[in-house]
Amino acid sequence: MTKIEEFIDGVLKGDRRSIAKTITLIENNLPEAQKALSLLYPHTGGAHIIGVTGPTGSGKSTLIHRLVAELRKRGKKVGVVAVDPTSPFSGGAFLGDRVRMQELSTDEGVFIRSMATRNTPGGVARATKDAVKVLDASGKEVVIVEAVGAGQSEVEIMKIAQTIVVVLAPGLGDDIQAIKAGLMEIGDIFVVNKADRENVNKAVVDIEAMLDMNPEKEKWRSPVVTTTAIAGEGIIELLDKIDEHRKYLEAGAIEIRRRERIETELVEVIKEKVAESIVEDLKRKGQLDEVVRKILSRETDPYSAADMLLAKRLKGFKTR
């Protein structure tokens, strides 16, 4: 067996070292990454993938810790991918989500991986989707992705998760009304955490009001759950809602969403491959500098330059 086949074999058996090494391989886009993903793909699709997002300070990590503990009581195997932002200046990252999940490290039925966004926009890393696939293929029944809710578009989490949980907390400095519309639209379940604080009821009412205003795209009306994660309250209710959503998805909605997700993913992969191969070709032939120079001196513009380059390389290619 090649090294890759050994890793994949290990992943399918749930071997932690294999899982860790395979995720690294994929995250760093090493040459065998694609082969690894192709080998794993047929074994994915079994896990329920939950995305947890929301503003910083709402208690996502603590909440996830409690969710995992409860899932473990129910005998489920769980994977967690915790994403934190990469510093745009240094390229480094402080990945501290595990602090809230300390004793889970030695639980055989839990695998936790911290990832940096590496400047992918949208609160998750480009490789997060693939890390989830590895955990899925390794037999985890639930995979939780903790996304960065740092105020950009949270659309990326939708490409990965089946059930999206938006975690808010009262008194975070902005009124619920100020929460971006995008966040309100992607939540399948809303959680008001830190429910021991003041203004909890107001927060719940505000969220319900905003949900009332959203046009009903599907038959699922997002419930609002209150929790106090640090005390372990509201966790069972939340898990029940998550489970309800999973049943709702399995009754039909899941196919539509899955199809959309797969189409989006395919388009992205195509874009990346095309761009990369063309740019590499340009660099190899020493043509990139020349084109850039022409754009700098305004002899041409980026759009015409791209058309010209693509027309040469993609026979019969017509652009808008």
Binding site: G92, G96, R98, V99, R126, K273
Partner: protein, 135 residues
């Protein structure tokens, strides 16, 4: 599709230290040097340290200890690392560790021991040089 490879460092506090100011300072310094730093908080058992290093597939473990329990905890950590097949990880230590204990620690596989007042630049360079060498 190129994703830059980053050095992944686990900053771990085994034992019963009551504060982690120093550990957090170096964690931030490593982040500012472009590394991805996993920090797991206070009161880690050797099992937790090694399990975290395994799941996170780290390149480096920086052990921070103030309580004097290094002679009890470090050998256990090194043994567990070996058991789990983590033979390529660079391990070094810092905090309050008496000079006379250093040779023994080096014998069991701790690459270097840094005392209080070590500049963060020294630590960053140490890691970068060892990564370059391919450990």
């Amino acid at each position: 599709m190129s994703s830059e490879r980053r050095i992944r460092v686990l900053v771990a506090k085994p034992g019963l230290d009551s504060h982690d100011r120093g550990a957090k300072v170096i964690a931030r310094a490593f982040r500012d040097a472009g590394m991805e730093v996993i920090y797991t908080g206070l009161r880690q058992t050797p099992e937790q340290v090694v399990e975290t290093a395994l799941q996170e597939d780290v390149d480096v473990i920086a052990l921070s200890i103030l309580s004097g329990a290094h002679l009890a905890l470090f050998p256990r950590i090194m043994e567990l690392l070996k058991q789990r097949g983590l033979n390529d990880v660079l391990v070094f230590a810092g905090g309050i560790i008496p000079k006379e204990d250093v040779p023994h620690l080096k014998e069991i596989g701790i690459a270097e021991v840094f005392g209080p007042g070590t500049r963060t630049e020294t630590l960053v360079k140490f890691i970068q040089e060892n990564m370059r060498k391919g450990k």
